[in-house]
Symmetry: C2
Subunit: 295 residues, 2 copies
């Protein structure tokens, strides 16, 4: 499988063969025959910010440090200029502690939790747009030829999805190149791991495209904006509120991307339609990930 696509451009590519991410299980198929399949792991990781326990995430378990950093950042509990003094991961205790120079206390914030449509102990609803006041997403360009190239490369990249399914992927991209491809059982974990990587590496956000396999809900749009990324694209569909927030924030929102098809519901101004859709092959059985209408 490794030869199916050139993954040399990735800074981080999925590593489906890595120990501990999948497990072989045996069941009986429709004919009654024994069949062995690969399934993804799902394990708890408790995230602390300094002395305070914040949340227990269910995750495949790779990149606990990025997950913790990105989760805290996307919740607004880590500020952009916070100085991280340590990240301590304990595999046995299944905990990760992020330490900052600033003294933190989010007891009150944590009391009000939002159960979001998809996933995650979400952002506090009352504070959902907190940290986005005055946000200006840069006026970059997005070529449709890049979008088509990205979708194709991502669909062909060896991944846990192709190995075991039942997982979501999110990919940080620059022009037509995918850079960091994260997967997780919860799609929000995949996004948070990207955010954590960006925070760690100091990667610029304003010229990036975020590609996700998940639905474009309010929370996905808000997280993307929190990360400063002006373009969010997905194979899946939209919720009305996701579209509304994207329009409000001036974020380019592209969904139902499948083969040559897509629809842009916000931020059309950034799109440069340089590719002829009729020259784009429709997805074959092998590259078809799933229906474009759903998550």
């Amino acid at each position: 499988m490794v030869n199916r696509t050139n993954i040399s451009d990735f800074v981080i590519a999925p590593d489906p063969g890595r120990d501990g991410l999948t497990r072989k299980v045996t069941g009986r198929d429709h004919t009654g025959a024994l069949q062995e399949i690969s399934v993804v792991e799902e394990r708890p990781l408790t995230i602390f910010l300094n002395a305070q326990e914040i949340v227990t995430a269910m995750t495949i378990g790779d990149y606990p440090d990025y997950l913790a950093l990105g989760f805290l950042r996307n919740q607004g509990m880590l500020l952009a200029d916070d100085q991280i003094t340590a990240i301590d991961y304990d595999a046995e205790l299944e905990t990760v502690v992020v330490r900052t120079a600033r003294k933190t206390d989010y007891e009150e914030k944590m009391r009000k939790k939002t159960r979001t449509s998809g996933c995650a102990v979400g952002t506090v609803f009352g504070d959902m747009m907190e940290g986005l006041e005055g946000l200006e997403l840069p006026d970059c360009e997005v070529r449709t030829s890049w979008l088509y190239a990205l979708a194709r490369t991502i669909n062909l990249t060896p991944s846990l999805y192709l190995e075991a399914g039942a997982i979501h992927g999110t990919v940080l991209c620059h022009k037509d190149k995918p850079l960091v491809y994260m997967e997780d059982v919860g799609r929000h974990n995949a996004v948070d791991k990207i955010a954590g990587w960006m925070l760690s590496s100091g990667e610029a956000a304003g010229d990036k495209i975020l590609y996700t396999t998940g639905r474009l809900t309010s929370e996905m749009v808000i997280k993307t904006a929190m990360m400063g990324i002006p373009v969010l694209a997905s194979r899946s569909g939209f919720t009305a509120w996701g579209i509304e927030i994207a329009n409000e924030l001036g974020l380019t929102l592209i969904g139902r991307m499948r083969g040559k098809r897509f629809i842009c519901l916000s931020g059309e101004g950034r799109l440069i339609r340089d590719a002829d859709p009729d020259l784009i092959k429709d997805e074959g059985q092998k590259t078809a990930r799933k229906g474009a209408k759903n998550e």
Copy 2:
């Protein structure tokens, strides 16, 4: 579309035409042409148990009473024998208050939240299996002919999914008949609405099958068991932990159901293979919901 399947057997069927569940939005498609599409709504609903604010769920907004009841029951905050004295829904304030004869206080429980793989302010991790001690799921039978019939009927039933996509469905079934078909932006909401309906109607659980479009994660398995339903089936895949818990609880777990294919990874003993898979048509384009491997 209404004629495509006989929905007369449903106690509750989806009502995709109902006001307020979808919205028309306009974007530009891959050719640059204006295109109007239907998208699902997503709105906050804050659930109270007596005087205590428990959670804000993002939901399509139908059946707030069932969602509140089922959420609280599946979190173990409502006990099986609790006397519900009132359910007050306020559409303007977007709140629903469930009142019980018993005095309740879940401050401590709420402090420890789990962010689950998929969705939802999940069950408290330390308490995840709470309420399941000594659970014995009944030793009923499940005919594969029922499973095939259910999948076919559900796929052809007019739904928000067929209308707008980006939504999950869960269906409570008896033998080969779907009874209650709930949809929501978060798949856990759909399950919770079923649980709320069962609690309200006093419907027996031991002879039911729960069908979901979502992945079979630990939390889905635990919720199904909490509801006392012995069989959980899905188009989607599994996580390793979901399978482990199903085996521990003796729950029949069937996934990757698509056309004639499926795989049973737990509770095979209940399955009666009375249908010849070769006589089952593979899914055509029109009935294909999405890839079997993913959520």
